[in-house]
């Protein structure tokens, strides 16, 4: 199973194995990773699963749809490498992916 590393804004980090086909958000929720709220449950309606994706992984992800980019406008401190973790679906190519959660989600 691909390993995903969730870092927090203070430098803490947790690496967990997440099944292919799940989203980075679901991996976090199922493993009690703090820093990802996912209030809307993954319907791209709330921006509380916002993460920063490490540069080298950004190009390996499918481009964000317009709706995702629109929703990131609403996120807390969005940056160029901001993504919604509910929209990143895990596959073998993402083994080793590192994401950082923002200081807060709202």
């Amino acid at each position: 199973m691909p390993k995903i590393t969730y870092k927090d804004f203070q430098g803490g980090s947790k690496t967990i194995e997440v099944e292919n086909g799940l989203s980075v958000m679901e991996g976090a929720i199922q493993n009690d990773i703090t820093g990802i709220d996912a209030d809307c449950g993954g319907s791209m309606a709330c921006a509380t699963c916002h993460v920063y994706v490490e540069e080298k992984w950004l190009s390996k992800l499918p481009k964000a749809e317009d709706a995702e980019v629109d929703m990131i406008d609403m996120a807390f401190e969005p940056k160029k490498n901001s993504r919604l973790s509910c929209q990143i679906i895990i596959n073998d190519e993402l083994d080793g992916l590192e994401v950082t959660t923002p200081e807060k989600q709202t």
């Binding site: 209030d39 809307c40 319907s43 980019v69 629109d70 709202t106």
Partner: protein
């Protein structure tokens, strides 16, 4: 203080269907919601998005679902108290008393919390000084546009609210529209109007950039924004209007003595009652083994909760299970012959 059989907190799809399930059992209810309209997340987050998993409705939008539910509960003439947030809940004998942020009071033997993920509130600016200036120089909505006349206003956001107010307030004020990227998601015809004003020097558009500081703590004098290329700019500003949408906050629900699991309320899946007798939680906000956050699950939950509500509201009557197809009593309540 208004007396009823059940106080429903939340006017989303599940809260509205609660009115129906209580109503066909002959119970009166009132509904309280913090938004200015019924529909909850369906209307606030995805009014135009199709939903495909409502039984027997192959496809409908959040707005259509809300409209149909409102139509379905019309026979019960239920009062909706909108723009009201429930702040306090306490017990008085066998009754619950609920108080809203506007000091409205209600009492009933039952409370049904259909609160989704909590109440919607504006997403605030993330810089610290903004808090002290809130409702003085920093605003998240426009209640009285007179105060913005002949001022220098910085408007943040890329959606319709930001664009609409930029256009409206530009009639008599100096506007700077600030957004974190070059694309605006609001209506493009509004944007082209604003672009015209930009050419005439009536509106300044600053993208892609974000606010990094407010430059005075008591009276706002100016703000500093930072562009993506790290360049900063100071902009003389009297008022900030920020439109970053709404966030869902659990709010006071956490203080009502209910057993919580993170942001959800633990219930008994037999009748969706919480650890406090007569307080029920249904829809996205409740948790029990196997819980799915689906609208259809909420409909089921509220049907069962309404039976328990009946027993509490009518302790001397026996609850009879009836079908809408065959019960004359229910058909009467629905206004059918």
């Amino acid at each position: 203080m208004k007396k009823t059989d059940a106080i429903i907190i939340g006017a989303g799809p599940v809260g509205l269907f609660a009115v129906h399930q209580l109503g066909i059992k002959g119970l009166k209810a009132i509904v309280i919601d913090n938004l200015d309209k019924a529909g909850g997340q369906c209307i606030e987050l995805y009014p135009d998005k199709p939903i495909y998993d409502i039984p027997a409705v192959p496809e409908c939008t959040g707005e259509q679902l809300t409209t149909r539910l409102l139509e379905q509960i019309k026979p019960f003439n239920t009062e909706l108290f909108l723009n009201e947030r429930v702040d306090e809940v306490h017990q008085d004998d066998e009754q619950w008393v609920v108080k809203t942020n506007n000091n409205k009071k209600f009492t009933a033997p039952n409370i049904i919390i259909a609160g989704g993920v909590g109440s919607f509130e504006p997403r605030k600016l993330s810089i610290k000084q903004a808090e002290q200036l809130e409702n003085k120089a920093v605003f998240y909505s426009v209640k009285n546009k007179e105060i913005f006349k002949n001022k220098k206003i910085a408007i943040f956001g890329g959606g319709d609210s930001a664009l609409d107010w930029a256009l409206e307030l530009s009639k008599y004020s100096r506007i700077t529209l600030i957004h974190r990227r070059n694309e605006f998601r609001g209506a493009q015809h509004t944007l082209s109007e604003i672009r015209k004003l930009e050419k005439n020097g009536k509106v300044a558009i600053k993208t892609p950039c974000q606010i990094i500081s407010l430059d005075n703590e008591k009276n706002l004098k100016s703000i500093t924004i930072k562009f993506d290329d790290e360049k900063t700019e100071k902009i003389s500003t009297d008022f900030i209007l920020s439109f970053f949408g709404l966030v869902m906050k659990l709010g006071p629900i956490a203080e009502w003595g209910l057993n919580m699991d993170k942001k959800t309320i633990e219930v008994n899946p037999k009748n969706f009652e919480t650890n406090r007798k007569g307080i029920f939680a249904v829809g996205d906000i409740c948790s029990y083994p196997g819980k799915l956050k689906l609208i259809l699950s909420g409909f089921h939950e509220v049907a069962l909760a309404s039976v328990e509500c009946f027993k509490r509201a009518r302790p001397n009557e026996k609850y009879r299970f009836e079908f809408t197809t065959s019960s004359k009593t229910i058909q009467d309540r629905l206004g059918k012959k």
